[in-house]
Symmetry: C2
């Protein structure tokens, strides 16, 4: 569950601009602010089931966007590369660094 929360936080971060304001509010309250479904339902004066359905649909949408655009996957790969590159840059190992930069370029 923690892993899913973590993933949803990232997907929300990458794709929130593509959600409706209501979808975005529910997701932020549920995943970022740790509200329960019941608390969100009360806040918006709707049923708990309505909040649950909306969040489930939004989760599926975020996964669909990720399947199509891979922003989170690329971000993870880029982060790994950048960490290694920083180490190498401080070590002065430039030929290996050049290979990594080439790999980074392929991600775009």
């Amino acid at each position: 569950m923690l892993e899913k929360t973590n993933r949803m936080n990232y997907l929300y971060d990458f794709y929130q601009a593509l959600l409706t304001p209501k979808q975005s509010s529910y997701m932020a309250l549920y995943y970022l602010d740790d509200y329960s479904l019941g608390e969100i339902a009360e806040e918006y004066d709707v049923s708990r089931q309505a909040v649950y359905d909306n969040i489930k649909r939004t989760e599926a949408m975020l996964e669909e966007y990720e399947e199509k655009l891979l922003l989170f996957e690329k971000f993870q790969k880029r982060s790994e590369l950048i960490t290694k590159m920083k180490q190498l840059a401080s070590d002065g190992e430039n030929s290996v660094l050049a290979e990594m930069i080439a790999e980074l370029e392929k991600l775009d």
Copy 2:
């Protein structure tokens, strides 16, 4: 017009996964394969106006996605950085390189 074609080619490249198959086909024929509106209309047995309207709507959608996700803008910034980093890596200027890698990281 050439600049617009170039921009549309890039936007299409970044966001084509979010288009419908028909939108995607029309855009590919018009922007990548340089078909005329009339040729696409003939190919799909629809009116020239229908093709024109579809392409105009798709162009607006692509610009809207770019406004929200900035994939093309980030790609351009990343490309610039990568070009400079390659030069620096081959020159062995590591402290400047480290600053650039930090800048690259901020784009994610």
